[in-house]
């Protein structure tokens, strides 16, 4: 444990030192001005305090009305460069690789989690068309953003050696524009998705239990969950909402430079965007894994909107109970979402598994 702390703190320290290396002067501007005024008298032509001041990214006068035209030297760029090209890219990149390995390992360990019981053939509508559309819009735009983002971030190291400059430039231009134009679309899809799924994602006490046992993954004991289990809720709140806001907002700052934001703002936004995006991708990898390879039946729910009763019972027992008890209609699409209004029996829709 001690070693771990030492390692982590060493890491943090390294980052901090890196960030400190090129930071500004220790003295405030007024003090340097005073020093310069005295220097003029005692040692004419010695401008050292002036240059110290200039180094500190102070804003001077420039008649051109462009933002920051009066800044002679901005030192944020060096920090940004060091962090972006160094710490952030490397940790982020390796984290993504690690996640892939982790998922790969997990798959090798557990394989696809199958249903324990045979499908009943009775289907429950899990997602309406709107819900699915919202989800897929988010999913597709996310994927494009992720891939284009990765091309821009790592293509220089990974792709240029393979496909050379001109081809990569083409690719990067496509990636950049896709990224920039799909970004706002992704934010809109996120908002729609958030609204659509909000009701089913309110945290409940059961979620805590689920969370403690990691959905029974660790000890193998089954924990009942609602329509969305705590893991999914966590993804909803932490991923879709929190990371969505972080990545979306920072992305907008970068995507609309026409509001005259300063370079410092954009550097910070870029780093936040990078961090958020990597975390988003890490989460998404888990989410996608669980939704596809990781768990049988999950993808179908998102594809067709319906699930088998057996699947529902096994994975989302409380929700299943609610549907059974009529609290939640089994087919919301036809009832127009008239929750708890009838005691209709679920109707079989579509094929079976």
């Amino acid at each position: 444990m001690k070693h771990l702390i030492a390692c982590l703190s060493a890491l943090l320290l390294a980052c901090a030192v890196n960030a400190q290396q090129s930071s500004g002067p220790a003295l405030p501007k007024d003090e340097l001005i005073k020093q310069q005024q005295q220097r003029v008298v005692t040692q004419p032509y010695n401008n050292a305090p002036f240059w110290k001041e200039a180094r500190g990214a102070v804003e001077g006068y420039a008649s051109i009305p462009a933002p920051e035209a009066g800044v002679l030297i901005q030192d944020g760029g060096q920090n940004w460069r060091a962090l972006r090209n160094g710490t952030f890219s490397i940790i982020g990149g390796w984290a993504l690789v690690a996640m892939m390995l982790l998922i790969g390992g997990f798959y090798a360990w557990k394989g696809t989690i199958q249903l324990h019981e045979a499908p009943t053939g009775r289907l429950i509508e899990r997602f309406t068309l709107l819900e699915r559309m919202a989800h897929w819009a988010t999913a597709i735009s996310f994927s494009v953003l992720a891939i284009s983002g990765l091309i821009l971030a790592f293509g220089k190291a990974l792709l240029i050696p393979v496909i050379s400059f001109t081809l990569f430039s083409w690719l990067a231009i496509i990636a950049k524009n896709l990224h920039n134009f799909l970004g706002p679309l992704f934010i809109i899809s996120c908002i729609v998705t958030f609204c659509v799924f909000l009701r089913d994602n309110w945290p409940k006490a059961v979620d805590f239990k689920w969370l403690v046992s990691f959905g029974g993954l660790i000890n193998g004991k089954h924990v009942p969950s609602e329509k969305f289990n705590a893991g999914e809720k966590l993804w909803f709140w932490g991923g879709l909402m929190l990371l969505g806001i972080v990545v979306g907002a920072s992305g907008l700052v970068l995507n609309f430079p026409n509001f005259g934001q300063t370079r410092a703002t954009m550097q910070l936004a870029n780093l936040v965007h990078l961090t958020g995006a990597v975390m988003f991708m890490l989460g998404a990898m888990g989410h996608i894994y669980m939704g596809t390879l990781g768990m049988a039946g999950a993808l179908d729910a998102m594809k067709t909107g319906v699930v088998d009763e057996a699947w529902a019972k096994e994975h989302h027992e409380l929700w299943y109970d609610d549907v059974k008890s009529g609290k939640v209609p089994a087919n919301r699409s036809e009832n127009g979402g008239n929750a708890g209004a009838g005691t209709q029996q679920p109707v079989a829709v579509g094929g079976n598994n």
């Binding site: 001005i33 005073k34 310069q36 005024q37 005295q38 003029v40 008298v41 005692t42 040692q43 004419p44 032509y45 010695n46 401008n47 002036f50 001041e53 200039a54 102070v58 001077g60 006068y61 420039a62 051109i64 462009a66 920051e68 035209a69 009066g70 002679l72 030297i73 901005q74 030192d75 944020g76 760029g77 060096q78 940004w80 460069r81 972006r84 090209n85 821009l152 971030a153 220089k156 240029i160 400059f165 001109t166 990569f168 430039s169 990067a172 950049k176 524009n177 920039n180 134009f181 706002p184 970068l254 995507n255 609309f256 430079p257 026409n258 005259g260 370079r263 954009m266 550097q267 870029n270």
Partner: protein
């Protein structure tokens, strides 16, 4: 090996903006793109006001080059940092990274549409054939290949801005600094420890009666 450099002498620069328009003139730079600009710090403060002309400084370890996602920057064998506009994707990273605000974009459009980055070329054009139409249109004139130095420095009104081979520049600047010290009150003891006989305070500005 020669290393092309700019030096701006803060004791000489009078913010006349000659360098700025010389550049606009030579390269037909459009409105809104300022490859070079003059910044005055401590404007109006007696004893502390200095002006500096700044453009791409053609860094040895160029941050723009380091962060460019498509690697469109390159360095000539004389240390001039240039870029290939055909490769540039207009992402703006070089602009974030550059300490001097050198990278410029013809637009600042929504959705990150900035157009191709443009910056000071040290009057050395770009990768196209020197002096060709393509080069002039994309990067401006190539004075270096004509045996001339950047227009901004050549036209500087007080010879504050110097451009050229770093060795020559340091010779020029050294000579200037040596001459400035004429009279012995600058170098040696006085520089190191200050002149004992001078007033130790900054030049004062007296108040002026304005009203009756």
């Amino acid at each position: 090996m020669a290393r092309m450099k700019f030096i701006c002498d803060a004791e000489r620069c009078i913010e006349c903006n000659g360098c700025v328009t010389a550049c606009k003139n030579e390269h037909d730079v459009p409105w809104g793109v300022n490859r070079r600009r003059v910044v005055t710090l401590n404007d109006g403060i007696v004893g502390a006001e200095r002006s500096i002309s700044v453009a791409c400084m053609h860094c040895s370890d160029a941050p723009c080059q380091a962060v460019c996602p498509v690697n469109c920057f390159y360095k000539t064998e004389d240390g001039v940092v240039l870029h290939d506009k055909d490769l540039c994707i207009g992402c703006g990273y070089c602009f974030y990274a550059c300490p001097f605000g050198a990278p410029q974009f013809p637009q600042a459009g929504a959705f990150g549409l900035r157009g191709k980055m443009d910056k000071c070329t040290f009057c050395a054009g770009g990768p196209e054939k020197d002096g060709s139409k393509a080069e002039i249109e994309k990067y401006g004139r190539n004075r270096l290949s004509e045996g001339k130095l950047p227009a901004c420095a050549e036209m500087c009104s007080t010879k504050a801005l110097l451009a050229g081979d770093g060795d020559v520049l340091s010779d020029i600047y050294r000579e200037r600094v040596m001459r400035r010290g004429r009279g012995g009150d600058l170098w040696g003891h006085a520089t190191a420890y200050g002149r004992p006989d001078t007033k130790a305070t900054a030049p004062a500005v007296q108040s002026i009666p304005q009203k009756s």
